[in-house]
């Protein structure tokens, strides 16, 4: 079992993994179209990440590479729970959130490949990007930083009386930073429409949650400590997560103040490509492998009566989208070193030429 799940495993289809996964809860408020879209987004994140991991191993991607395997449902759910005018600041594990906001597959590959026409023009790689046109703030590596930024975006909405919401994510590790405390506290005091989704995936790099905090019940800490309503949800269940985050987003929109969700899952891959996650006990991993969010949602859709052809079409569509997106990104130009200093300032100081 364990050797199948190391970071070197090849992409596998849900079918190859048997059909015994426990189905997602039948969250009745979630329409069939949304269910199918959640599955498409999860499949797309996984297919892009599997493809990219291969590219990385082939030496075609520089730097490092991070995936969100096992956590796809959370980013997908939050991405779909937001409205078109809402904004979001995702982290490493939430590629599906970008995709839900309309970021093109080719654009994702352009950042991984460091292309001129990618979201950062080659200035940054990995998941370190945002797409401002899609209301997505670019990831900043320093964990915790995005919490106050999100609170500030929500403050702008509140000041202008706009029914918009700002959402961000962090992990159990990020939960321990000072910025998260300051951001949560500020959000509460200012009563802003911010939503915080905590991805509790049991580990911060190699450190288990029990070594990061004494009280590991993050939801009750946020509810009790910062007076921000926070529900704990099974992050491998796309429908439960979607229902939970949607409700939080709508409460925030209705001026009920900041809201939070703790989504519990397990990062099935290592922290990044170099990490085989051998610190994760085999039973824990096996437990979560059996609750793969894609398998669980697929099972739910089968119970809903969605036929195999439809599911097959979805998978094929994703496979094609990845192939096309990658081909498009690969043909994109490399960045020109002559442009390196462009954009350091929005309003460059005129005439004070640097020497």
């Amino acid at each position: 079992m364990a050797d199948e799940t190391t970071a070197t495993e090849p992409a596998r289809t849900p079918e190859a993994r048997g059909e015994n996964a426990p189905p997602c809860v039948d969250a009745t408020a979630v329409s069939r179209a949304t269910r199918l879209e959640l599955l498409r987004l999860c499949l797309l994140q996984r297919a892009i990440e599997d493809r990219t991991m291969n590219l990385y191993r082939q030496g075609r991607i520089s730097g490092s590479y991070y995936t969100g395997r096992g956590q796809e449902a959370v980013g997908a759910a939050a991405g779909l729970a937001l409205g078109p005018d809402d904004v979001v600041a995702p982290l490493n594990r939430e590629l599906a959130c970008h995709l839900a906001r309309g970021v093109e597959v080719a654009h994702v590959f352009r950042i991984f490949l460091g292309r001129e026409t990618g979201p950062t023009r080659g200035r940054d790689g990995n998941m370190h990007f945002g797409v401002p046109e899609c209301g997505i703030f670019p990831l900043v590596s320093m964990l915790g930083d995005l919490c106050p930024v999100t609170v500030g975006a929500a403050l702008a909405f509140k000041r202008r009386n706009e029914a918009r919401v700002a959402l961000t994510f962090w992990g159990d590790g990020g939960m321990c930073t000072g910025d998260v405390h300051e951001g949560l506290n500020l959000a509460g005091v200012l009563h802003v429409p911010a939503v915080f989704v905590i991805q509790n995936n049991h580990y911060a790099y190699s450190t288990p949650t029990e070594r990061e905090m004494v009280n590991t019940d993050i939801a009750s800490r946020i509810t009790g400590g910062w007076s921000i309503p926070c529900e704990r949800v099974d992050g491998t269940d796309a429908l439960a997560t979607y229902a939970c985050v949607s409700a939080a987003v709508e409460r925030a929109r209705a001026d009920e103040g900041p809201q939070a969700v703790e989504a519990v899952s397990l990062r099935i891959h290592g922290h990044a490509a170099h990490d085989d996650a051998r610190y994760v006990p085999a039973e824990l991993r096996a437990d979560y492998e059996a609750r793969d969010p894609i398998l669980r949602l697929t099972e739910r859709l089968r119970l809903d009566g969605v036929d195999e052809d439809t599911l097959q079409d979805l998978t094929e569509g994703v496979t094609n989208a990845v192939a096309e997106g990658l081909a498009e990104a690969e043909s994109a130009p490399d960045p020109d070193p002559a442009t390196l200093e462009d954009g350091v300032y929005a309003m460059p100081v005129q005439g004070a030429e640097r020497t």
């Binding site: 904004v87 979201p119 950062t120 200035r123 940054d124 370190h128 990007f129 945002g130 401002p132 703030f137 670019p138 900043v140 590596s141 320093m142 930083d145 919490c147 106050p148 930024v149 999100t150 609170v151 500030g152 975006a153 929500a154 403050l155 702008a156 909405f157 000041r159 700002a166 000072g178 910025d179 300051e182 951001g183 506290n185 500020l186 005091v189 200012l190 954009g343 350091v344 300032y345 929005a346 309003m347 100081v349 005129q350 005439g351 004070a352 030429e353 640097r354 020497t355």
Partner: protein, 321 residues
């Protein structure tokens, strides 16, 4: 024309900026009804309301980050730190988020961070520092420091209208000591441009903040003709203005209140070494405190800070070389 203090000029600039642009609002500790620890924001919450002059918890990292998020959404926040020393607690949102985001993504951060700096007020190691050197040289940030009443107003107005993050260092020792005519509401001090505070031919003093007044007074005790370059913007440096003055005088003293190995001096001296070598008649000189934190006891602080006498002595040494 009425006479105002440096502090009044800052307050009027804040009020004028908020009156002119709905998007401008303020975040900081005790800045509302209380008016801030130095009274800079006194009365502003009466005119603009506590929704625009927002008292925050003690969370510098939180509210600087929040200012950036609001700016992302098109607002133009002004953040007040109670003392510039506390900028260390919000270093990360400044040097990571504020400085790097436009280059990476094109998102603009029209945010002003007001940082009351400087000594002479017996503030000691935590309330009298000049931490500008941590930011001078950081791509993506603009760093300004006013040394005159006019610039206190004009630099702040320009900073608020700038689309980049600007750290505005205001000198606590000048707050009530420096007086001048109330600058007109149209006054803008261009960011990135130094000014000649006094023209002269025998030597150049390059300085900023409280150093401007100090240099003026020190040069008044000498018979020589001293040119004073008031940097106003510490980053990006106005390199042509510095070099132009030194080409004229062939001698340069860099004067700053920050400890000698930090602040803006190193950058100025590097520029001089690289580009003014051939016009110099004397080695470029530096007058700045020793490399220690700012001391508290009057005897120690007075010995630490450049004074009129010590600055005049440094100039004499330079002129006699």
């Amino acid at each position: 024309m009425s006479t105002v203090t440096y502090l009044d000029a800052i307050r009027v600039a804040l009020a004028d900026a908020m009156r002119d642009d709905e998007r401008v609002f303020m975040l900081g500790e005790d800045i509302g009804h209380f008016g801030g620890p130095f009274g800079v924001t006194k009365g502003l919450s009466d005119e603009f309301g506590t929704d625009r002059v927002i008292d925050t918890p003690i969370s510098e990292e939180g509210f600087v980050g929040a200012a950036l998020g609001a700016a992302w959404m098109g607002e133009r926040p002004i953040v007040e730190l109670q003392f510039a020393d506390f900028i260390s607690t919000c270093f990360d949102p400044i040097v990571t988020v504020a400085a790097k985001t436009h280059w990476r993504s094109g998102i603009r951060f029209p945010v002003v961070i007001r940082a009351p700096f400087g000594g002479g007020v017996r503030g000691g190691p935590f309330h009298a520092s000049c931490p500008e050197g941590w930011f001078v040289g950081t791509a993506g940030l603009k760093v300004v420091a006013a040394g005159t009443v006019e610039d206190a107003y004009g630099l702040l107005r320009s900073a608020v209208e700038d689309d980049d993050p600007v750290i505005y260092f205001e000198h606590k020792g000048l707050y009530r000591r420096l007086k001048g005519e109330q600058p007109a509401a149209t006054t803008r001090t261009p960011i990135g441009r130094a000014a000649i505070a006094q023209s002269g031919t025998d030597a150049t003093v390059v300085t900023y903040g409280a150093g401007v007044d100090l240099a003026l007074r020190a040069s008044g005790t000498l018979n020589d003709s001293i040119e004073i370059v008031n940097l106003r913007t510490l980053w990006p440096l106005d390199e042509p203005a510095i070099l132009k003055s030194i080409e004229k005088t062939s001698r340069v003293l860099v004067l700053q209140e920050a400890a000698r190995s930090i602040g803006a001096a190193g950058h100025v001296l590097s520029l001089v070494a690289r580009h003014a070598f051939e016009v110099l008649d004397a080695p470029p000189a530096l007058h700045a405190p020793v490399d220690t934190p700012v001391p508290f006891a009057p005897e120690l602080e007075d010995a630490y800070l450049p004074s009129v006498d010590s600055t005049a002595a440094a100039l004499r040494d330079l002129l006699e070389y």
